[in-house]
């Protein structure tokens, strides 16, 4: 004789619990339905008894449904999980699915809705097989599409990333179409697959969907993987440059006698993109945009003279003044302008400024 599945109902409202107990007890599989009114009580019941399904309300005092879902997913990965609430917004829905919830359901109000809910729960109970593996999917989208296509499935993938929602239609293991906002076809597919994270939901297939993607899924994934690699490469280079920039910046700012450091694009007229906080109020006036504009203009003019007259690349420039000294250098397309205390010698100014220059 088959063992009846056990369902645990969790809701802070007892009348709701009784209503659902009645509805679920009448299912074809004749489940044993138990109820509780708090997350803590549910946890202790789950620890002591072997349940197949937990149906929990989302909004509860104390531990809410999402907190329960998080703990349950970690502690009882084999347990099927249904979250119910009054009125679901898409962000809550996405969040619930990303936690590994099997089903998010709006509390049924009519008899028809209750019937549908019963069918869903029944199908969830039917899917429970003795043995096998079950857990939270943390696969990349490429893995997910590959899995669907290799198994020659037909499905509609609903993917969410923050506020964005995209769809990928798969029919007999071929990607038929994709949609993301105003994008459609391959453009939408490529954009969706660039998402680094999000959640997915496998919806029933729509075989009537017109085919807008003609390329094979292997070709699509190859192109996308290439683009993702390029994006990662560019991001890694940017991170290294930024790290270098930051390290250099700190070294310069803390160098002896340095009053201010500013950086900006080589082209004149573009204001400073970064500047040190003035060390004294007096310095504030010195390190203004006029100084950076002068540095940009002087650097460009002298660099051009050097190129035209065959003097070689310009490395750094020092200016010795009665009130302060300045040093200019460049890293790629960025000009770095430093202000020095006038007590420093020309050699000291040169030594610090020359540190910025990176020989090609």
């Amino acid at each position: 004789m088959p063992i009846s599945p056990k369902i645990l109902l969790l809701d802070d409202e007892t009348d709701v619990l009784e209503r659902f107990r009645g509805a679920l007890s009448g299912l074809r599989s004749r489940p044993v339905v138990e109820t509780c009114t708090s997350g803590a009580k549910a946890m202790s019941l789950l620890e002591s008894e072997n349940f197949s399904l937990l149906v929990t309300d989302l909004h509860m005092p104390g531990m809410d449904g999402l907190q329960v879902a998080t703990i349950v997913r970690r502690k009882f990965p084999q347990l099927r999980l249904v979250v119910m609430t009054n009125g679901i917004d898409s962000s809550l829905r996405s969040r619930a699915y990303s936690l590994g919830v099997d089903l998010v359901w709006e509390k049924p109000g009519t008899k028809e809705e209750l019937g549908l809910f019963q069918s869903c729960v029944e199908s969830l109970l039917d899917e429970i097989q003795p043995g096998g593996f079950q857990g939270v999917q943390t696969k990349s989208l490429v893995d997910l599409v590959q899995l669907e296509c290799l198994s020659r499935s037909s499905s509609l993938l609903r993917l969410t990333n923050g506020d964005e929602e995209g769809f990928i239609w798969i029919h007999h293991g071929e990607v038929m179409d994709a949609e993301l906002g105003s994008l459609e076809g391959e453009a939408a597919f490529n954009r969706i697959l660039r998402w680094a994270n999000g959640s997915f939901e496998i919806l029933p297939a729509q075989p009537d969907r017109a085919r807008r993607i003609e390329q094979s899924w292997q070709g699509l994934l190859l192109n996308t993987a290439q683009e993702i690699d390029e994006m990662r490469g560019a991001a890694a280079v940017a991170a290294v440059e930024d790290e270098f920039d930051t390290a250099l910046w700190h070294a310069l700012s803390s160098a002896e006698g340095v009053e201010f450091v500013m950086s900006g694009q080589k082209a004149s007229g573009i204001p400073a993109s970064r500047r040190t906080a003035p060390k004294t109020p007096e310095v504030e006036a010195k390190g203004d945009d006029a100084v950076l504009a002068w540095a940009q203009k002087t650097w460009s003019a002298i660099e051009k003279v050097g190129q035209d007259a065959g003097l070689g690349p310009l490395c750094h420039v020092e200016g010795i003044g009665r009130q302060r000294h300045v040093g200019i250098s460049a890293v790629d397309e960025t000009i770095v302008c430093m202000g020095f205390n006038r007590k420093l010698s020309a050699e000291q100014v040169r030594a610090t400024t020359s540190k910025i220059h990176q020989p090609a």
Partner: protein
């Protein structure tokens, strides 16, 4: 010239542009007053440098940077300009370690 002598003609050594070395003065209007640079180099270097240097001092003054000396460090050459009553005296000399400096030292 026979074909034989033509074929034996030694190729000319490649000319390496010499790094300028010397000094010149420029007045406030950008005109060179006096120079010790060789004529060929003066034509190549002096004119554009004068204009850039005078302009750099003038713009620095406008940006409230009262500069008395500007040094431009190129890869093998250092150009030092000292402000001189609206004009400038400009020194050009190879930087130690550059090919020109090494050649002159030997």
């Amino acid at each position: 010239m026979s074909l034989f002598t033509w074929s034996r003609k030694k190729p000319r050594p490649a000319t390496i542009p010499r790094t300028p070395k010397g000094a010149f003065t420029v007045d406030s209007s950008g005109q060179v007053v006096m120079t010790t640079l060789p004529a060929a180099m003066a034509a190549r270097v002096q004119g554009p440098l004068c204009e850039a240097i005078i302009s750099a001092f003038r713009d620095a003054h406008r940006a409230q940077l009262a500069l008395t000396e500007l040094t431009f460090n190129f890869q093998g050459l250092r150009v030092t300009a000292r402000e001189l009553r609206g004009g400038a005296i400009v020194f050009l000399y190879p930087i130690a370690g550059s090919p020109e400096a090494t050649r002159q030292a030997t």
